[in-house]
Amino acid sequence: MTMTPGIRRFMLTAHVLSSVGWLGAVAVFLALSVAGLASNDAQMARASYQVMDMIAWFVIVPLCLASVLTGFASSLGTTLGLFRHYWIVVKLVITIPATIVLFVHVRPISQVSQIASERTLAGSDLGLQVQMLAAAGAALLALLVATVVSTYKPRGLTRYGWRKQQERLQSQS
């Protein structure tokens, strides 16, 4: 199934917007997790974790889903395909685990937010706080790599992509 040029451009625009938005939201999440961990102001730390919970649920999760869905649609609706080019496979290898890790981490985020809404965070909560920081840093790095790969689109056909290309060329000749 091939999309019309209009739908293809719309999907690409939606994909770029959601992907870059996801990256930006994770950067904000990282800044808040640093503030929550390093701030000497208890009120600031508590507020940070409560805002992080809202950002995770209402910004990061929707943008992540939108990015994955529009990415699949853009690949499958054009001749690019999902497994024909290495740069797309690499993006899949980055994005799918990042999405799974995000959904695994949403619950601990809510847990820290709940603690922060009830009391000042103590030393016993340090593990969760460090986990938030580490997850945000790893996610930011992964999304930066995915963005660079999609911008540069480094060359390279997979075996499957090469075979499909040969089939297409032979059918044209």
């Binding site: 986990q131 060359r155 000749s173």
Partner: protein, 65 residues
């Protein structure tokens, strides 16, 4: 010009099949090697996974409690 061109007629159906023969179009018969940047990415990915596991086992990167 290929063997399927009108000048040469259709390919002989009884001709011996050679799996390694060229596709008779003059194009590449073997898939290109995996690009170096993909190999570098795979190595980096493995390093990151191993590093995370080591940190996790050392208790520096705790999982959910």
């Amino acid at each position: 010009m290929t063997l399927q061109s009108p000048h040469l007629g259709t390919p002989d159906p009884h001709a011996p099949v050679d799996a390694n023969s060229a596709p008779r179009t003059g194009r590449a018969r073997k898939p290109p090697p995996r690009p170096r940047w993909v190999n570098a990415f795979v190595i980096a990915l493995v390093v990151v996974i191993v590093l995370f596991m080591v940190l996790h086992l050392a208790g520096v990167a705790p999982m959910h409690r």
